[in-house]
Symmetry: C2
Subunit: 456 residues, 2 copies
């Protein structure tokens, strides 16, 4: 397919606008950015109105507002509810960014900024796709559209859940469209059909009632850092199996046929290792690398701290040590079930001499989306048109907790039409999004609407 003239003509402006938005540090996890989160919502509301959406509003919640808008064509047309999020992950550690995370730059064909790919860049594709369909020479909009962009995806979407429950009529639709995932490569289009769930905890190990001098007390007191390391170490066995009792009870084991099908997706172990600079891929015994990151649950320490972490040496036995520990879940594990198992188990392995507190953060449910639906077929056709190649279905390792919630609350399936790449470094320093991918998204979204409207 030839790139639409409007897109070619306006792409520089589209990029400039996106970079203006990326300059607003809409970090939802850290209260000090609260004002910026609100500014990012205002920015999105204004751009959505300019693009041609109607009834655009900021729907207030107990937390960050939801940006909502509509474009109504007619009662005979299907309705697509577009979901995305305008909040971003924290940008720490700042010193590892080659350019400041909130001063976007375009280099080597990529937009570098926190949120460039996850998910402001992908949300903005939808805004610009709408503009393109409605302007001179545009094809018009073939479906009814509802836009719902939240500001708390990176902190668990609790308030979106409440909003959805309370607004079932307003949100009535035929399918959910989400661009918050990726494709395998720019010449290997793909659609994610599975996502892992999440159970995320902060643990606090308390030993003595204050920091102690390691000379005066060392040897006679269980050091909370050493204890925490022991406890964390015990969570995996030598085969990288997770040792929490009952952890695997509800894991859906795939049949050999299902595993063989997944193994069709192109994957190079050598490229994988090279891309992350590692000599070895390490993981659960009995499973391949793609399986380990998709159909198997995991446990990772996402952060750890305790004692003296400044420059130089301090001979201290700290009173406390902390870690953030999360588990990725697969069907048919549930976040509540695994959260309860983790809390119970982690408390039970605390050795004498320390006490343990486990504070659950947010969770999310694993999902598998259907590949035999009209929406999936429309997405596959749209990608085939714009990439010149049929997409492959993949099971992703990330979590979009809201997908399971949409199914349970609204009864709607989601189609995951994302344009990122695994190498985009989302949640990491130097997050980026390909200009190619951004523009390809704007080009593909109208094709999806066209195919979906035609199929209904």
């Amino acid at each position: 397919m030839t790139t639409p003239a409007y897109l070619t003509q306006h792409q520089n402006r589209f990029l400039e606008e996106l970079m203006d938005w990326l300059r607003i540090p809409s970090v939802s996890a850290d209260p000090k950015f609260h004002g910026d989160v609100l500014r990012a919502a205002d920015f999105l509301k204004a751009r959505l109105e300019e693009a041609g959406a109607a009834n655009v509003e900021l729907c207030s919640t107990a937390g960050n507002p939801i940006v909502y808008g509509e474009y109504f064509v007619g009662p005979d047309r299907p309705t697509v509810l577009v979901y995305g999020h305008y909040d971003v992950q924290p940008a720490d550690p700042y010193e590892l960014w080659n350019s400041p995370p909130f001063e976007p730059v375009i280099q080597d064909g990529n937009i570098y900024a926190r949120g460039a790919c996850d998910d402001k860049g992908q949300v903005y594709m939808h805004v610009k796709a709408l503009e393109m369909m409605l302007r001179d020479g545009g094809a018009g909009v073939p479906c009814n559209l509802k836009f719902m962009f939240e500001g708390e995806e990176e902190v668990g979407s609790d308030n979106l859940g409440i909003f959805v429950k309370a607004n079932q009529e307003k949100l009535k639709a035929d399918v959910i469209l989400i661009s918050d995932t990726g494709i395998l490569a720019n010449d290997v289009p793909s659609i994610e059909v599975g996502l892992r769930g999440l159970s995320y905890h902060e643990v606090e190990v308390t030993g003595p009632n204050r920091d102690l001098h390691s000379g005066l007390y060392g040897g006679a007191v269980l050091n909370p850092i050493n204890a925490l390391c022991d406890m964390i170490s015990s969570l995996h066995d030598a085969d990288c199996h997770i040792t929490i009792p009952g952890f695997y009870d509800n894991v859906a084991e795939l049949s050999p046929a299902e595993r063989a099908e997944l193994a069709q997706a192109p994957f190079s172990e050598a490229d994988f290792k090279q891309s992350i600079g590692l000599p070895a891929a390490v993981g659960e015994k009995g499973f391949t690398t793609p399986e380990r990151t998709s159909i198997r649950p995991t446990l990772d320490v996402n952060g750890i701290w305790g004692g003296y972490i400044g420059e130089g040496a301090k001979t201290v036995i700290p009173g406390k040590a902390f870690a953030k520990i999360s588990m990725r879940l697969v069907p048919h594990q549930t976040s509540d079930e695994i959260t309860a198992l983790f809390q119970k188990h982690f408390a039970s392995i605390a050795p004498a001499g320390v006490t343990v507190q486990v504070r659950p953060h947010h969770g999310g449910e694993p999902v598998v989306t259907p590949t035999d639906s009209a929406a999936y077929r429309a997405a596959a056709k749209a990608l085939t048109t714009t990439f010149g190649k049929a997409p492959v279905p993949t099971r992703g390792g990330g979590s979009i907790p809201i997908v399971a919630m949409f199914k349970s609350e609204l009864g709607l399936d989601s189609v995951l039409l994302g344009f990122g790449l695994d190498s985009d470094a989302i949640h990491s320093p130097n997050e980026h999004f390909g200009v190619f991918n951004f523009l390809k998204g704007i080009e593909t979204i109208p094709e999806f609407y066209k195919e979906y409207a035609a199929a209904r």
Copy 2:
């Protein structure tokens, strides 16, 4: 003994002066305090001159200056070289201090400030003892005195070692007197006759070449934090023995008689546990709590960090994880030997998928000081006079690396006439020093000189 009139009369001024000095944050480990370290040296030089010392100078080194001064009485008198340090430990974590660490306050009979006990408060006892001996009604100084106060004790005393080597003639003396330790209790005077050595390292575990998203990569990559926890956990066995091969090879095992003698020192396990708020004392199997903190070597993690440690949740597999790990050593282990063993062992236990760097910080040698010397007997008599009770010899768990160096470079034994308490929280938030202890030190030091001069 009755408190000298001069001390009673001037004690408030002495305390005010000390608090002025404690307001200068002379943290040697952190370059941002470098100017303050120099100000603290200037302050000490001025006070030492005012007290009556001669030839007071700042001896420059490659690092922080050494404050040196003398008081010469006559060639027939013995010479005491007084050593102490004016640098202090970092005050982190600041938020756990009840009052700011560099804004000293006196509360419940204690001076609260970083360095109050370790070691500015104890150095200042020597300055004020000199003043007291020399002023109206003072007994005069019965020994030749040399004062040498360094500014790098908390970072390994490397430059003091060079200074001592280069100034053997200038530093000629009969004994070293150090007040940088403690007594068992205010009604149980004691003298430390053993100190543990130190081997201190910073370790860096590197996994992937950047932070990764734990959803996209989790399960297929060895997480450096998990790997670091495994490695740390493996450094002790279930009996709290250290697993580094060869670690215990040179440990001097005490005879049952020697252990029985040490067990004479009053110790209450219940009080120990209560003082640190712990239900259990945990340590090496087969040894008592006092033995674990004195005659046995230890390994503690003094700090650990990696990944996301801010507020909220971030689903990251970090590229690196770090820890500060130190070992307390006992005779006849040496710092160099244990440093080499640790480096080799820690690198050897790195699992496939991570690489490890071990950077040694400073070390120090364990020492045992003689109890049959004129200096030890003089110290014991001085304490008996001022406390009304003979002191008990104890083996301390801390390290003053310089003591072994004095022995090897100057051929001199040290006597450890310290006045702190274990509960003074040195190296911890809310460090303090009893006003009683500060004044008792000023009272005892002249008694030591008197007894030492008389015995020679």
